[in-house]
């Protein structure tokens, strides 16, 4: 037990998660379940991306569905009209969403808090209208169909022909793991620390020499690129893109996942994406009820658990640690006084 504790609950959880995830296709034969799992992986990418700007930098965006859409449409257009394969559309989509993210960030991040939310909402709506009405390029309301699968990959004994859902799984998992590692490296650096400082106190951060605006814009750009990558994967996985996927509801869904999982936490992003995707698939028959429950969930989470599921987990973990510490201390009373703080922002 001691070496497990040394490893840290966080790392242990991550390790178990990765191993369990690798085993999944072996046990699941139902293609629908495989489809849902792949969808979860795409959502994890989106949530990781949005969490960079919302959770780590404290700038709320409800327009990230648009970056997801731009990535998907670029993949769709370049692959169907120019015949480019997935390995070419992916970098193009990432670069394009990053550039658009930079422009939107450069304009929008001059605004703060609710004004930024409104600006990103407007941006998301504009992009959705472009998808819907620029019929020559985006196919209008019909969208673009027949997007090719990624080219088959051959690893000797192990082949991915991308003819069934299970074939996409290792590819998507690979990108999710890359994204997680990328996020970790990013967060545990001077840049990542600068972002969290901006989230916690902009003025104090700036007084420490952190260029607030520039840092925000860079993070927004990276965040948009994540969503662009997710969009490309989505397009090549689903084979069809249409405007209604990338509307306001998508942006809200991703944001809800960030909130439910816990802002500023990689495990939180994974949890939020997984739970909400399963949840929304389970309620597929009654979409109206789904939005109602989403709304209620956000309200309840914001009121009682503003740090999401990870907030609750950290809270209880701290309680357990405190108890253990008190037990160690000689003559300490058995009763533990755990302060009510720690769940929410101050």
């Amino acid at each position: 037990m001691e070496h497990i504790r040394k490893l840290g609950y966080r790392r242990l959880g991550l390790l178990i998660g990765v191993i369990a995830l690798l085993m999944i296709p072996l046990g699941i034969t139902n293609p629908y379940f495989m489809y849902v799992i792949n969808l979860i992986l795409i959502y994890i990418l989106l949530v990781l991306g949005l969490d960079l700007i919302v959770g780590y930098t404290g700038q709320v965006s409800i327009g990230h569905g648009a970056f997801f859409g731009i990535g998907a449409y670029i993949a769709a257009i370049f692959s169907t009209k120019l015949g480019l394969s997935f390995w070419f559309t992916l970098p193009i989509a990432i670069l394009a969403t990053a550039i658009i993210g930079f422009i939107i960030g450069f304009i929008g991040l001059k605004l703060i808090e609710e004004y930024l939310v409104m600006a990103t909402l407007a941006f998301g709506t504009i992009i959705w209208l472009v998808f819907l009405n620029w019929t020559d390029v985006t196919g209008g309301p019909m969208g673009i169909a027949l997007i090719p699968s990624p080219p088959a990959m051959n690893f000797g004994i192990f082949q991915l022909s991308f003819t069934q859902y299970a074939d996409y799984y290792p590819l998507l998992l690979f990108f999710v793991i890359v994204a997680i590692i990328f996020t970790k490296l990013l967060i545990n650096s001077g840049f990542g620390r600068a972002c969290t400082a901006i989230r916690d106190d902009e003025l104090a951060a700036q007084s420490m020499g952190i260029p607030v605006f520039r840092t925000k814009v860079v993070m927004f750009t990276i965040s948009a690129a994540y969503c662009g990558a997710a969009g490309t994967l989505y397009a090549h996985f689903i084979h069809v893109v249409s405007p209604e996927t990338f509307n306001f509801t998508m942006s809200v869904t991703i944001l809800t996942m960030v909130m439910i999982g816990g802002q500023g936490s990689i495990i939180g992003a994974v949890l939020g994406a997984s739970l909400l995707t399963i949840f929304s698939e389970a309620l597929r028959a009654t979409p109206e009820l789904r939005m109602l429950i989403y709304g209620l969930l956000i309200v309840i989470m914001m009121m009682f658990f503003p740090r999401g599921i990870m907030g609750i987990i950290n809270y209880y973990r701290k309680q357990i640690e405190k108890r253990a510490l008190l037990k160690k201390m000689k003559g300490a009373k058995a009763t533990v006084d755990v302060k009510k703080e720690g769940l929410g922002y101050e």
Partner: protein, 264 residues
């Protein structure tokens, strides 16, 4: 350290600085200079424009008129992060900590200017990146030991006592390796013991060769610590000089106590 040899050079020069909020002249044509390695106190009644002056010096708000020079550099129109880069750091009147961070994490933020924020080295974890991270951690350790917070380094900064929260703020400011440290009422709301301990810390910081510009109401602190005092009232400079000069000056007594009627 022999202060007399260093007193010739001004590290900070404020010339003709003005700032109005609507019709209120918060700072009005204010000029003074801070000598290198001094502890320079700014005193004045509430609302005299002391905090506004700090915000003007550190670039948080732009002045209407006038100039702020740091050593020989004009920093008037620079943003606060650029000013921090030049070697000016500060604490805030109402302590501004990062609510989600432990003490050591908070102070680590102050090493931003040392580590920088380049993305490529961070993602590749280059040797230079790792060395800088190591140097930053080293600096945090030194500073935490220096200000006496090493034992509480893993506690959340916001959960510490008021006096220790102020220490965290000072430690964070020191982590930027400033030449000039601005302290905005650092001992407000402290008990006498905390005040005394903080005063010892300020002296220690000053002995490290860091010039201190301090806003304070506590006259005991001002008289004990400061090499030079500037009194401001209604945004204008009233008097300046050493503690003895200031204490006896009729204009200062008037600003604080009101006009003494002598007609009887």
């Amino acid at each position: 350290m022999n202060k007399e040899n260093l007193t010739d050079t001004a590290i900070l020069t404020v010339a003709g600085l003005s700032k109005s909020f609507g019709g209120v002249k918060a700072v009005n044509d204010l000029s003074f200079s801070v000598k290198k390695n001094h502890i320079h106190a700014i005193i004045g009644p509430n609302g005299a424009g002391k905090s506004t002056l700090f915000n003007l010096i550190t670039g948080i708000i732009p002045p209407d008129q006038g100039e702020v020079r740091f050593s020989t550099t004009d920093i008037t129109s620079l943003s606060s992060d650029q000013i921090a880069k030049h070697g000016v750091s500060r604490t805030f009147q109402n302590i501004r900590l990062f609510p989600d961070m432990t003490v050591s994490e908070t102070v680590l933020i102050g090493t931003y200017l040392l580590t920088g924020a380049k993305l490529a080295p961070a993602l590749l974890r280059t040797k230079a990146f790792r060395e800088k991270e190591q140097a930053a951690k080293q600096r945090v350790e030194e500073i935490l030991k220096f200000v006496g917070l090493w034992d509480v380094r893993d506690e959340y900064a916001a959960q510490l006592s008021y006096g220790n929260q102020r220490r965290v703020e000072i430690a964070r400011a020191l982590a930027t390796q400033p030449q000039l440290l601005l302290l905005d009422e650092p001992t407000a709301g402290m008990n006498p013991k905390e005040t005394k301990e903080l005063m010892e810390l300020f002296t220690a910081v000053n002995n490290e060769g860091i010039t201190i510009l301090i806003i304070a109401h506590d006259m005991n602190l001002v008289n004990t610590l400061s090499d030079h005092i500037t009194v401001i009232n209604f945004g204008e400079k009233l008097v300046e000089g050493t503690a003895e000069v200031i204490q006896k000056h009729p204009a200062v007594i008037e600003a604080y106590m009101g006009k003494v009627k002598v007609d009887a």
